[in-house]
Structures are given as structure tokens and as C-alpha cells.
Symmetry: C2
Subunit: 242 residues, 2 copies
DNA sequence: TTTTGATATTTGATGCAACAAAAAAGTTTA
DNA sequence: TAAACTTTTTTGTTGCATCAAATATCAAAA
């Protein structure tokens, strides 16, 4: 069928180039669309067409197609008909399932991170937390959500488990659109703050169970707020009544 | 940016069609390649080119490209150079990470399945187990692995969590190639049998913790066997020495 | 023999056109 | 007015040509 590669390349003496990164229009388009979805820039129900995406991203249909196809595979977009791709609605059952998986995986990542986290990391986390606090004070809710995401993923990355982080990212990707139009209401609560402080303390103490508990609490409190908003905002962005 | 669709489609009276499935060359190519990977038909290190895949699958480069791109996104294939896509090697750290995630997610799926599993399901699982036993007796190791997969995923599907099952599938996809050429050695052990029996008993008793424990044990025992094989088979299919 | 460099080949990325299917718009009819 | 039909437009799919970059091949030089 296919030939297996057998060669083993010689390592360069200087061993410099850490491998040039990917750069292709398809990759960029994918990243751009994904980013829009994660940060809730796209309202659930938004219909995406090949050519409209291509136009907005200023690429041809081929890279746009790449991006859409991949995002559908991840669940970030869904096929809602023969020729209709839309930003998915987040139903309560969906939220339940995603939350259950998040508790498992982000809990695991949080635990593991205690083994690798550095003092510098903790300082950075404290700065992010200050950014969150300031954002709450000054009503810059987008900042709050951004910093919140950075806070979580900095911890998760320190698990040293790349695949795990990727999977968690795909879960946030699925949640993103549900935040569309909810920024003020959602970010206003300060219950998340204490959870983050507990997480920080746990990291300093190198206490995996404590960090896990803090993250789990944070996820649960987010779940409560989001699930109530899902019901309340039904007419504006909820699932279309069938 | 994009227009949001506002229509709410009328639900069909009969509400039958569970939505006609996708059928496109790209989708088929993806499914075919993915299947090859999961069942270990492709040796790690195998180099895939657009045109070779297109030729084998008897499609043009476009669907082949779709399949490869998506699989790379899932980690089922990796980019090992500027223009080189290969079936990934499974290193021990990789296996460790995947196993940790599997314990979390397959444990969760196993737990949840106890809430929905039916008598018919249990019967089917028993039949699958008999197929496993027969396969072991008669040395039909491919059958053993196939039935083993069916056994696990029947349980996981009964969790009612679709996304969870998809994620678990992507983990198996990552493990598949490591089984290439290991069928006899790997399937010979019968330690998995008792774990399956424990799982069955747990399902009958509707005991989530017991089912979870059985599945976790099964995963751990598989981990032990595979990790030792990984080291042993180094020269034949291990990572190329650099 | 090994190394070096030039040449030929292969490769993925990208854009694009053709096509059929689907949706939308418009028109006619009851 | 609404239902049924027709026409027009839009859409995703697919194949393919082009191009630059990477690879493989091979011959000359050391």
C-alpha cells in the first residue's frame, strides 16, 4: 500500500533550527475562524457559506473549505442541512455533557500542572487574575473573558500533556458561541474570583487535589450561570423553537 | 460579518428521517483512512502523499486532501516535515498521556452507561465476549481486537454522550498504529477477559463504580502489555534513531 | 569511495471552473 | 390570499492545472 520511511537523518552539529512553523492559508483560515468561535464573536445560528468565509478571510474557497471542514470535524461548526453550515446552538443537554467532560479533563490537567508549574508561572497567573479583577471593576468584560481563558490554559499547558490541552480547547470552542451577547451578564459574577485564588494557593502548595477542586468549582459555577442564561435568553439566541 | 439564520424550520409530523447521512468522497476517504489507522493496518512511519492516497482510494486529490487534513487535525497523522505526512509513532510519553486521558474519559463513559444500558445490550456484550474467547482459542487475533473494540464502544455509546464517544474514538485512533504487527503477541493475553466479565457484572448490577473500575483495569492492563511491547519492538517499528 | 553540486522529479498549496443539487425569487393559477 | 409551479441564483463538491518548494537522482570533482 504505502511505503514506510526508513531513513534516519543526521543531526546538525549546531542543532539550531527548532523547525519552522506551519504557514498556509488553510491553517491561517482555520485558526482565524476557530478564534472567532472561541471568543464568542459568532452568534449561534450564523450561517457560513464557503464563499462568504473565503471573502471575509480574503482567501480563495480552498483554504476556506479546509477551515470549515476541520471545524465541523471538531464540532465547532455543524451541518444543519444539505448545504448549510451554522454555528451550533448550545442546548442544555450539550452543556451538561461538555461540563461533565470538562470536569474530568480540566481536573486532570489541573492536577498534573502542580508537578511542573514554576514560580514565574504563578506570578503570571497572579497578573492575569489582576487583569480579571480590573476588568470586572471597569466593566471591560471582553478582557475578563480573555484573561480568564489565559488563566485556565496557562495552568492546563503546564500539565505537559499537549493532546489533553487540544481536547480541552475543542470543548471551549464548543462553548464559545453561547457567550455571544452575554458578556456583561456572564462576567459580572465574582464567584469565579475566589476559585481562582484557591487554585493559586493550591499551586503554591503543590497540592494537586486542591487545584483540581478549585478548577472543578470554577467549572461548576460557570455551568450554573451559563445554564440559567441559556434558558433566559431563549428567544434571542436559544435553539429555534421546533 | 455573517448573516444569522432566523428561520425555525417546521418539525416534520412523522419526525422520521434521522437526517440522511453525509455522502461525499471526502467523507468516505476520511472514514476509510481513519478505519485503516484504528485497526492498525498502517505501520507507524508510513509516509502518505496526497497522490498516493488519492490513487489507493480511487479519488482525486481533493477528497484525499480533505481526509489527510482532517486526520492531521485529530492527531491520527502527523506532519513530519515540510512535505511529509506520516503515520505517527507512539512513544512511551505519548502512551502515558493517552492512557491518562483514556482512564478519565472511558471511566466516565463507563459510569454513565449504567444509566442507559438495556438487557439487550448486555446480551450483545456477552456475545461479543464469546467472540473474543473464540478468537483467542482459535488464534484469530484480528477478530479479537475487533470484538474488543466493539465491546468497549457499545458500552461507551450507552453513555448517551456523543461528543465523549467521538473524543474516545480519536484516542483509539492514535493507538491503532502501535498494534501493527503486534496482533499475536498483544491479543494472546487473557487478562482482559476477566475485566470484561467484571464490567458485565457491574452493568447487570447497575453499579457505576464497579463498571468504571473494570474498564479502568482493562485499560491499565492493556497499557502494561503495550508499553512493554513498545520497548521490545524498538528496532522493527519504534521511533527512528536520530 | 565520498562529497558536492546541478538537474529532474515529486510534492503540497492554491485557485478556479464545471456541475448538480438546493434554495430563493418570481410567476401563475385556483 | 395562498398554493403550485417555473426560473434564477447560490451552494458545496470535485477534478485539475499551475507553481514554488522540497526531494531524489546522478554525474563530476575531490
Amino acid at each position: 500500500m504505502f511505503a514506510a520511511s526508513k531513513k534516519g537523518k543526521e543531526a546538525l552539529p549546531g542543532d539550531l533550527a527548532p523547525i519552522g512553523r506551519h504557514s498556509s492559508l488553510g491553517e491561517s483560515a482555520y485558526a482565524a475562524l476557530k478564534d472567532s468561535l472561541i471568543r464568542g464573536a459568532l452568534q449561534p445560528g450564523t450561517k457560513l457559506t464557503l464563499r462568504s468565509v473565503a471573502q471575509v478571510l480574503e482567501v480563495s474557497t480552498t483554504p476556506a473549505r479546509d477551515a470549515i471542514t476541520r471545524l465541523i470535524g471538531e464540532g465547532g461548526l455543524i451541518n444543519a442541512g444539505p448545504k448549510t453550515v451554522i454555528v451550533p446552538y448550545l442546548s442544555l443537554p450539550d452543556l451538561d455533557e461538555i461540563t461533565a467532560i470538562r470536569l474530568s479533563l480540566e481536573g486532570l490537567a489541573a492536577e498534573q500542572s502542580t508537578n511542573h508549574v514554576t514560580e514565574a508561572d504563578i506570578h503570571e497567573l497572579e497578573e492575569l487574575q489582576q487583569r480579571i479583577n480590573r476588568g470586572l471593576d471597569e466593566g471591560r468584560y471582553t478582557d475578563v473573558l480573555d484573561a480568564n481563558k489565559d488563566f485556565h490554559f496557562l495552568i492546563y499547558r503546564r500539565s505537559g500533556m499537549r493532546r489533553l490541552v487540544t481536547i480541552i480547547e475543542s470543548l471551549w470552542l464548543r462553548m464559545g458561541p453561547a457567550f455571544n451577547g452575554l458578556y456583561p451578564e456572564f462576567a459580572q459574577s465574582r464567584t469565579g474570583v475566589s476559585n481562582h485564588l484557591w487554585a493559586l494557593r493550591g499551586l503554591q502548595d503543590r497540592d494537586p487535589a486542591a487545584v483540581r477542586a478549585a478548577i472543578e468549582n470554577d467549572i461548576r459555577s460557570g455551568y450554573r450561570r451559563l445554564s440559567s442564561q441559556l434558558g433566559a435568553a431563549g428567544d434571542q439566541q436559544g435553539e429555534p423553537v421546533t
